[in-house]
């Protein structure tokens, strides 16, 4: 479903954030990316939809392939249509209601009619338990509610891959649960491929079927939750897990 070949990202020509990353993700995989801050986890995720443009390397998501050194705007847009992202800061459109947020891409990107878009949006809001807030603007919702709407917005476009960029990091502790439960439920349904960057080790352990540990711009360890968390071999990984208090 996702193929990354020799992906490198350099900021300002000097700071190398990603170093020759190679990654393959199968359909219906739920992959959690862990690692200390500043090791390129988010950058890797954001390269997958070109919010962050890689310096070199080839990315394939679904059936769209984009080469960092040779691509068009249209190719990038096609690549983005293959996935949908849930952000750390929710990033809902502030001038649209919950319903409007979920409908937006269905209308503008997929060219669906209002009626159809609304049917889909209502179904997705129901799924994340936010149907009763459908006419609320983001300003009137809690962080957890906004994030659940953002998840509905991502689900609505029926993406091949769901990308979660630290979806609970900005939430108050008491609101983390509702968002994690929503994501867990999605993972259990096994209908879409998911890649999530997270600091919630226990959550990753329970939800993901594969865990990637990043360190200094490399993938330092890659395996099942049992291999990575219960029985870590890599000394840096062990150190990291001790620090975060596994």
């Amino acid at each position: 479903m996702v193929d990354v070949k020799n992906l490198s990202k350099t900021f300002d020509g000097t700071t190398e954030v990603l170093k020759e990353i190679n990654l393959h993700v199968d359909k219906h995989d739920v992959v959690a990316i862990l690692g200390p801050s500043g090791t390129g986890k988010s950058t890797l995720l954001r390269c997958l939809n070109y919010l962050c443009e890689p310096t070199t390397g080839v990315i394939r998501v679904g059936d769209v392939t984009v080469d960092a050194q040779n691509h068009t705007k249209q190719q990038v847009r096609d690549l983005r249509k293959q996935s949908a992202m849930v952000f750390q800061g929710y990033n809902l459109f502030k001038n649209k209601t919950a319903l409007g947020n979920v409908m937006e891409a269905l209308i503008t990107v997929q060219g669906k009619g209002r009626e159809e878009a609304e049917d889909i949006a209502i179904a997705q809001l129901k799924k994340v338990g936010m149907l009763d807030r459908k006419d609320f603007y983001p300003a009137k919702m809690s962080g957890g509610q906004q994030q659940r709407v953002a998840i509905a917005r991502a689900l609505a476009v029926n993406p091949n891959v769901l990308l979660f960029d630290e979806p609970t990091s900005a939430l108050d502790p008491e609101l983390v649960g509702e968002v994690l439960n929503t994501i867990r439920q999605l993972a259990e349904e096994q209908t879409s491929t998911m890649i999530l960057v997270t600091h919630e080790i226990h959550f990753a352990r329970n939800v993901a079927n594969r865990i990637i540990f990043m360190e200094g711009g490399y993938i330092a360890a890659d395996g099942t939750p049992q291999e990575i968390i219960d029985d870590p071999e890599n000394p840096r990984l062990r150190q990291f897990l001790n620090l975060v208090g596994k």
């Binding site: 249509k81 992202m85 952000f87 990033n91 990107v109 917005r153």
Partner: protein, 243 residues
């Protein structure tokens, strides 16, 4: 008597006759400066190479020179080299200078408003595959308008006051009429009191409209009420679910 109420009442309608000219100039200049300001701001927002520098220079030039000088330079100065300006009526010339001058201020207000829409929303739109155009027209501009509204209204009040400079090139607006009246009667105190009152009242009125608009636009994003355009659809949907 120092202040003659009878003269005040007699001159008031005469001075007031200039109001249509004053308001006309304001409205026309407001429209054109808003258009020009929006274009400049958008060019700047998208970092179109040369436009960024032009706006910078333009803005510093306009802010750094007095409006009277701008009018004189345009109407008397440029007339020496341009037949277009030479054949221009004073009203048109004032309108042009007002529009050009205020466009620099409005461009700054609009640019600030566009920048106020956070990067996160832009990323969300792009990540869903929306085009830059869709992002700008459907997400950025609707939000920017609400942010820009109060400052733009301030700019318009300034424009209204700036129009009083039209008298310097012989236009009979409120100020122009007052000069003619007072020159004949020597009753400067009363006449300019009239001018002050007229400008003050209209500025107050515009300020009130501004406040109302501001309250209304602030309320929109935070209210939970159903908007008009999706009300019908929703009711239909609810009906369907019931059946």
């Amino acid at each position: 008597m120092l202040f003659s109420w009878s003269y005040f009442l007699e001159a008031f309608p005469k001075v007031l006759k200039g109001l249509p000219t004053t308001l006309g100039l304001t409205v026309i200049a407001a429209v054109f400066s808003l258009l020009l300001g929006t274009v400049l701001a958008l060019l700047n927002y998208y970092k179109v190479p040369v436009a960024v520098q032009i706006l910078k220079v333009w803005s510093s030039f306009i802010r750094g020179t007095p409006n009277v000088t701008q009018i004189f330079f345009f109407y008397y100065g440029l007339a020496r080299i341009s037949t277009l300006v030479l054949n221009m009526s004073p009203v048109v010339a004032t309108g042009v200078v007002m529009s050009l001058s205020m466009s620099a201020f409005m461009a700054e207000s609009i640019r600030g408003a566009l920048m106020s829409v956070d990067e996160g929303q832009r990323e969300a739109a792009l990540s869903l595959g929306m085009t830059n155009f869709q992002l700008t027209t459907r997400i950025v501009i609707p939000q920017a308008v609400r942010v820009a509204l109060p400052t733009l209204f301030n700019d318009m009040i300034n424009l209204f006051k700036m129009s009083s400079l039209a008298f310097t090139i012989g236009i009979r607006d409120v100020m122009g009429n007052a000069r003619i009246e007072s020159a004949a009667s020597f009753r400067f105190f009363e006449t300019y009191a009239i001018v002050m009152i007229i400008y003050w009242i209209f500025s107050l009125l515009m300020g009130m409209v501004q406040k109302r608009l501001e309250e209304k636009s602030n309320a929109i994003y935070s209210s939970s009420t159903v908007t008009k355009d999706n009300k019908g659809l929703l009711n239909k949907k609810l009906q369907k679910e019931k059946n």
